[in-house]
């Protein structure tokens, strides 16, 4: 029964996230788009929970839905866009874009049952299960310590770069 419940939950989350992604891309009002993207992020966080990535689900809600999306919403309110509602939401070349997107999705869908090596069962016998936050933290701070530090450097560079780009030019 838990397996069936998990599958039902997965298919609900998948359908809801696809629907909210389509609505987010096609809405004319940018704020409505943002709210549909918020729904998409929360449903994707649910999918992360289902595949045993609890920490990733928490980070998805806190960082993506809580920080990045609110940041985008602030920007939309800073730059008021009265004319965006008047014109068409898509450019003149939208059939070409739709064809490109559908072709890519069809290709990736076609390759979704990969001839992978079979799933390894019971690798982490005795240890914490791989989805656990402690296992993720252990790997992040031992095996991936250098990429972790480089990620902090990337964030610092992005912060300085954003300030430099967006700063008002002062005549000295």
């Amino acid at each position: 029964m838990p397996i069936l419940a998990g599958q039902i939950a997965f298919y609900y989350l998948a359908a809801a996230s696809i629907a909210s992604a389509i609505l987010a891309v096609t809405r004319r009002n940018p704020v409505h788009s943002m709210l549909w993207v918020l729904a998409l992020f929360l449903h994707v966080a649910g999918i992360f929970l289902l595949v045993g990535a609890e920490f990733l689900a928490a980070v998805q809600v806190i960082v993506y839905a809580g920080a990045i999306l609110v940041f985008y919403l602030f920007f939309l309110m800073l730059l008021d866009l009265p004319r965006e509602e008047a014109g068409p939401p898509f450019g003149a070349h939208w059939p070409l874009c739709a064809a490109a997107g559908l072709a890519f999705a069809a290709l990736a869908w076609y390759a979704r049952e990969p001839g992978l090596l079979p799933a390894r069962e019971g690798v982490a016998v005795g240890g914490p299960s791989p989805g656990n936050i402690s296992a993720v933290g252990m790997a992040l701070f031992t095996q991936f310590a250098l990429p972790f530090e480089i990620a902090s450097l990337v964030l610092l560079a992005a912060m300085v770069g954003a300030i430099v780009v967006a700063r008002r030019k002062t005549e000295s």
Binding site: Y64, L96, G101, A105, A108, R120, V123, L155
Partner: protein, 100 residues
């Protein structure tokens, strides 16, 4: 519990929707948001493979993707502010200065 093929199919569909939005929308902020949708699709893929192979390295890669997405949002929106200071509106069809 969750079949990996279904996760990969969901990821493919989400990535295609994000690609359509990125190529087709006229508003530059919504283009950046479509980029976030595509990055989310990639994260679903990574988490599904991590679950399938019973390995937490997929989750760690997804964490790095989230960090890079935050950096991209900061720099991209800084560029949008610098752009909107020089011209009204954020439609990409007005940005033709580099067109030959």
């Amino acid at each position: 519990m969750v079949p990996v093929g279904a996760c990969l199919g969901l990821s493919a569909v989400l990535f295609g929707i994000g690609l359509i939005g990125f190529l087709g929308r006229r508003n530059i902020i919504l283009m950046l948001v479509s980029l976030e949708i595509m990055l989310n699709a990639v994260n679903v893929n990574l988490a599904a493979f991590g679950h399938y192979l019973q390995d937490q390295r997929g989750q760690i890669l997804a964490l790095f993707v989230i960090a890079v997405a935050a950096a991209e949002a900061a720099v991209g929106l800084g560029l949008v502010i610098a752009l909107s200071r020089n011209r009204p509106g954020v439609s990409v069809e007005d940005l033709t200065q580099l067109k030959w």
